[in-house]
């Protein structure tokens, strides 16, 4: 009975003014769609960051130079250059450590034949292939004797292969000029694809770290040390063992700060994830503001509707409609407008998210709680902004309403 006296007249009225109902809903649709798209992009990014960091291995530990204090001014992390391959060798002796690789990285122009390409050159140890679980696709990875010999050998990522040797069956045996030094290609890496940050991980050349230090940077230090612990469960113990070892090796006397920093990738993933989430909530709140603007549109149309239907309201009262019933009818109309708008908004938002992932290759994911939240919020907007016009309708004097032209 209540259903019939409120829902039916409400939907009949909305269907009677289809164009107007649509336009009014548009505000809500845009608001909800904006929330859904932002959240989908944010969540997708966060999840794929976490996934790809996790795929690097939950037992991966990265040692980076810490900040240094020079004349009272502290540089940021990485400001100190104190890590050496010898540190790496010492860490490799610690219990629970499976493998260690120094990493020396630089970005430079490389040349092969008539082609040249700007890429990342990483000086690493033979263990790097194991640590990153990154096997060669053809040829071989360099070995310990290559490192000792400071050999001019290189393993190319797939992107570098296609850029430097387009149309050639195999680059193995060819020569690549890195900063004027010719390196012989001994292998190619299997493709990894994009990283979570959208970086092409295959755009890289790996060479022995000794060669990178001697022939390219000329430095005695490395950019970081990658450590793989034997078991993921031991990661905390291994981390503190590394810290204790490096404090001793670098002769750091408390209260002096450490000149290095030991982090495991899970912690980094979590930090990246929570930063992304803060951004996501922030953006979604901005989008939610447009929902409120949509709500004002609903209120506007409801006020027009009440005025237009003054005679109808008067008549309904004359035939026995209690004020409450009139209030419910108009409130239902406002809620129907905004929640139908909300549902359409979810669909539009989902399509938008799909478009983003197809066109921009950005991973998106729509979390269900947010869908419920967005539709619920839209309905709430309807109640809030529909109440005043509905109240106004219910408070009409039936005689004046019937006389209204």
């Amino acid at each position: 009975m209540i259903f019939d006296a409120t829902l039916r007249p409400a939907f009949t009225a909305l269907l009677r003014n289809k164009a107007r109902s649509m336009l009014t809903m548009l505000g809500i649709v845009i608001g909800v769609a904006a929330v859904i798209v932002t959240v989908a992009i944010g969540t997708g990014a966060r999840i794929s960051v976490q996934k790809s960091i996790a795929s690097l291995g939950s037992n991966l530990i990265v040692v980076q130079p810490g900040s240094i204090t020079q004349g009272g001014a502290r540089s940021g992390f990485g400001g100190a250059s104190t890590l050496t391959p010898a540190d790496g060798l010492a860490i490799a002796q610690l219990p629970g450590v499976a493998a260690v690789s120094p990493v020396v990285s630089l970005r430079t122009q490389v040349v092969a034949g008539g082609n040249n390409w700007q890429t990342f050159v990483s000086g690493v140890a033979p263990t790097y292939s194991y640590i990153r679980a990154w096997p060669v696709a053809s040829g071989r990875f360099f070995n310990q004797s290559d490192v000792q010999a400071i050999a001019k050998v290189a393993v190319l990522g797939q992107t570098v292969v296609t850029q430097l040797f387009p149309g050639q069956s195999s680059p193995i045996g060819a020569s690549v000029l890195i900063k004027g030094t010719p390196f012989t290609v001994i292998g190619t890496l299997s493709p990894l694809g994009q990283s979570a940050m959208g970086q092409d991980q295959d755009d890289v050349i790996l060479i022995p770290y000794s060669s990178a230090m001697e022939r390219l940077t000329g430095l005695k230090t490395v950019n970081s040390l990658m450590v793989s612990s034997a078991q993921a469960s031991q990661i905390d113990e291994v981390q503190s063992a590394i810290t204790a070892l490096l404090v001793r090796r670098h002769r750091i006397v408390p209260p002096e700060p450490n000149d290095f920093q030991v982090r495991n990738l899970q912690a980094i993933a979590q930090a990246a994830g929570s930063t992304a989430q803060v951004m996501e909530v922030l953006l979604a709140s901005v989008a939610a503001v447009s929902l409120i603007v949509g709500g004002i549109g609903v209120m506007n149309i409801m006020l027009v509707s009440v005025t237009e239907r003054t005679r109808e309201i008067g008549l309904r009262m004359a035939v026995g409609a209690p004020g409450r019933s009139i209030l419910q009818q108009f409130l239902t109309e406002a809620i129907a407008l905004s929640s139908v708008g909300g549902v359409i908004g979810v669909v539009v938002g989902a399509l938008g998210a799909l478009l983003v992932s197809v066109l921009a290759h950005w991973p998106t994911q729509i979390p269900l709680p947010w869908v419920a939240l967005a539709v619920g919020f839209a309905a709430l907007v309807g109640i809030f902004f529909g109440y005043y016009p509905a109240r106004k309708a219910a408070a009409l004097n039936p005689i004046e309403a019937l006389r209204f032209e």
Binding site: D4, A5, M317, A318, G320, A321, G323, L402
Partner: protein, 234 residues
């Protein structure tokens, strides 16, 4: 038996800014069940004001009103709405059918606010239209009917809840003589055959002649109240 309407010393004063307009200046009237009363009087004499108070759409400034023995001034707005829904039926000069709505849906309207199961509603409305011989208009929209047809639909709507009292303020005001006579004949029949009490406002003596009793208003007062011994039947 309780009178349907019993008003004593009914006054209504409208305030327009500084000015006070006395629309009703002390009306006493008792209408029993199965009466057919016509209210006449010059323009501005308070007829519509009286009908609105009797119809519980407005309240008097002073005086008492009992409907079927209940003191209306003691009822809440919802209780008055419930009485309008179940015991009263309104017929207006301008029909007041809902626009872009079929005749059947218009007749069903009062049932929305009464306790009728959904399935029964259409049946009841159709039966009512059949009684008035207008079932063929069921699917017509308001703007697809003549004035006389619209007023018949409005009368069906007023009757659909089985009211005790029909209030009709100039129901033939917008109709030609022939149609007016048909509508009045219908009122006479409802009164005679179904025992429905009718209170009707008109300016025309021809129309008032259908009633059993004629009450005349002037300046917010009843100046005459007599039995019509030449009641027209058709």
């Amino acid at each position: 038996m309780e009178p349907v309407v019993d008003v004593r010393g009914l006054r209504k004063i409208y305030t327009l800014g500084q000015e006070e307009i006395g629309a009703l200046a002390g009306v006493d009237l008792r209408i029993d069940a199965e009466e057919f009363v016509a209210v006449m009087g010059p323009s501005g004499s308070g007829k519509s004001t009286f009908m609105q108070i009797v119809g519980m759409l407005d309240s008097p400034s002073s005086g008492s009103y009992h409907f079927e023995g209940r003191d209306v001034s003691r009822l809440t707005a919802d209780e008055r709405a419930a009485i309008r829904s179940s015991r009263l039926g309104f017929v207006f000069q301008s029909y007041n059918l809902l626009a872009r709505t079929t005749a059947l849906e218009n007749v069903e309207l009062p049932l929305l606010y009464a306790t009728h199961p959904v399935r029964e509603r259409e049946q009841i409305a159709r039966a009512q239209m059949q009684l008035l011989g207008i079932e063929h208009l069921a699917k017509h929209f308001s703007n697809q009917m003549s004035g006389g047809q619209q007023q018949r639909v409005a009368i069906a709507r007023a009757l659909v809840n089985g009211p005790a009292l029909i209030l009709a303020d100039e129901p033939t005001g917008a109709l030609d003589t022939k149609t007016s006579d048909e509508v009045m004949a219908l009122f006479g029949e409802l009164n005679r055959e179904r025992g429905i009490t009718i209170l009707l406002v008109t300016h025309e003596a021809d129309i008032a002649a259908y009633a059993k009793r004629i009450v005349r208003f002037r300046d917010g007062l009843i100046i005459s109240d007599r039995i019509n011994d030449q009641q027209r039947a058709a």
